[in-house]
Point group: C2
DNA sequence: GAAGCCGGTTATAACGATTCAGCAACCGAC
DNA sequence: GTCGGTTGCTGAATCGTTATAACCGGCTTC
């Protein structure tokens, strides 16, 4: 593969000039510029990034570690981050930790030996143990959607409590007074916050919020809860459920329909995340949407700010507001 | 950040010895080994990959470009590839082309300037135009799940025709003689092959296969087809549908149930891909499963074979056999 | 006692780019 | 015709690592 010297020889100039053509073309005369460019094209020359990184002391890459690539939330977020990185001439390396601390640790290590400029990461363990070591050794890090508790770090997140309030307010305004919150484990901050927000509004309306904790945010969990709810006499059943994510909501929808409950007539449903399937469900789902793409963009902005400002950078925590998308599963005004 | 010289100074040896500790510890005396390792730990030294790559003339990375990271098929495939890469001490860089030729081209370019050892890619355009340039300049490439037409390349894929046969045979054995195939665009080789396989078996059984082409493999497409089918008088309606993927199948399931058709009583449904939602659907879906993980592993194996064998490597096309997962949507034996 | 060997170590030369001081050629101005 | 000032290019040093040849006591071996 052609090196810069080969190009230089072919164009009859020195290597330094070729480098100038590549990096500061305005410092080269039009005539040689053309000659060198021709040589580059003829040889199919591509600069060696390793050599560049070595002399520059930094690579042109940042890392992005998400807990689940198959979740559209993170795919959109990744796109947003990439757009911003692009404007900085930086490549985003994407990794899927799959919620595994081990994988996260491995990837962080890889990114560090690769000397990436910075890392965007949704930490698996909320204390951010793996991440702290990186930071101490000087790699800029921005936290995504989790671990906002860590004050001396940049982070972006969505206000889950506000999301809970949004969903609950919507139900209350539709006349619901018996509402169930389905989600879990409650130890997950995201779930907890959504619950707290919901409780706040239901309480304020003088309603009753029943909390049904489930082991995971899955379709299966939603189905078994709905099956149990359907068994109750109508008077002891909530008229609406607020689910911690759309998967649970879809499960509830399936099992409830199956058991003969009509949605939203007998049971209104609100989901969370607004995944693609939410709109495509048998009864399109009302859901809380998060500004995913924007989240990625701002996270990347913060990261580059930190990279460029160096020591005199002050960390910021950005919190986005979610938005309610109303569809058929909560029906029309009631009561 | 600490360099190898810093470690050497601290341990009272030369840089060469530190390098030996890292790369050929058996060539170093136990005493100095220990001293050097201690120094490494104390300084938190991490070798600079750019420098390593520069002298080695090759990086320790390969690229993986998939058309849709959110599709579990590719996520599993990526995991398989990564496992293999791990045993070669190589990092997998993951990219999402999102079916965009532009993005694919950009990523391929990035990978090439990064001097990756090789690339695994599901080409967006089936001719593989973008990919050919890479290959000509000497980067080993293995094609994933597409573009198997290109003979002088390594590739892995799943036998879609066999998948179609598998699904159709299952329906025929359950007594179905009026079957509809729903999928499209038919120009997509995957879809076409599945259809051909299905036709083969339905024809052999003396049945009738109706082809319903849809613009895309989406839930919405499935729903509108099912709505139309439900309008027909029972005698003119197929008793079973074979869908080109699970999303269509889920759409059909929803709309059919909605219209009062019972699944599988009035309409049996077979999907394709066996995505997670298939098992979690209102009526769990019979579907054709592909050995996704294995696909990734073998693709990576082929790539490393090519990387290590160099010129005297002969390209291979590996084709996997799919597997039918029977669930409730095709019910019990009929007729 | 000289020659050869051996494990363990060091010094040195790459790898492919960028940067920067320095130099030649040319410019208009006096 | 000489002088400062550009402009455009070259040559050398440099980044952090690995590979390799050379070295060096200490030990056999004849």
């Amino acid at each position: 593969m052609a090196r810069i010297e080969d190009v230089a020889a072919r164009a009859g100039v020195s290597a330094g000039t070729v480098s100038n053509v590549l990096n500061r073309p305005q410092a080269v005369s039009p005539k040689t510029l053309e000659r060198v460019r021709a040589a580059i094209a003829e040889l199919g020359y591509l600069p060696n990034e390793s050599a560049r990184a070595l002399v520059a002391g930094r690579t042109r890459t940042v890392g992005l570690i998400v807990p689940d690539v198959t979740n559209p939330f993170f795919a959109d977020l990744a796109n947003g981050a990439e757009e911003v990185a692009d404007t900085h001439d930086v490549i985003v390396m994407l990794y899927n930790s799959a919620e595994s601390t081990d994988r996260e640790l491995r990837y962080l290590g890889q990114l560090e030996t690769q000397r990436v400029q910075g890392v965007l990461v949704t930490p698996v363990d909320l204390g951010g143990g793996n991440v702290l070591a990186l930071i101490e050794r000087g790699t800029p890090v921005v936290l995504l959607d989790r671990g906002t508790g860590l004050r001396d770090l940049c982070s972006v997140a969505v206000d889950d409590r506000a999301g809970g309030r949004l969903a609950a307010t919507h139900l209350v305004e539709h006349g619901h007074r018996r509402v169930a919150f389905i989600g879990g484990p409650l130890a997950v901050p995201q779930v907890r916050e959504r619950l707290d927000g919901a409780r706040e509004m239901v309480d304020a309306a003088g309603g009753i919020l029943e909390v049904i904790e489930v082991p995971g945010l899955t379709v299966g969990a939603g189905r078994s809860v709905a099956a149990a709810l359907a068994e109750r006499p109508p008077g002891e059943r909530p008229t609406a459920v607020l689910c911690a994510n759309d998967l649970i909501a879809l499960g509830v929808l399936q099992a409830a329909t199956r058991a003969g409950l009509r949605v939203p007539g007998d049971l209104a449903i609100v989901g969370y995340d607004d995944i693609e399937f939410a709109a495509a469900a048998a009864v399109p789902l009302t859901s809380v949407r998060q500004p995913r793409h924007q989240l990625g963009r701002v996270a990347a902005d913060l990261l580059f700010e930190e990279i460029n400002d160096g020591k005199r950078h002050s960390h910021r925590q950005v919190v986005f507001q979610p938005e309610l998308v109303v569809r058929a599963s909560t029906g029309v005004q009631r009561g």
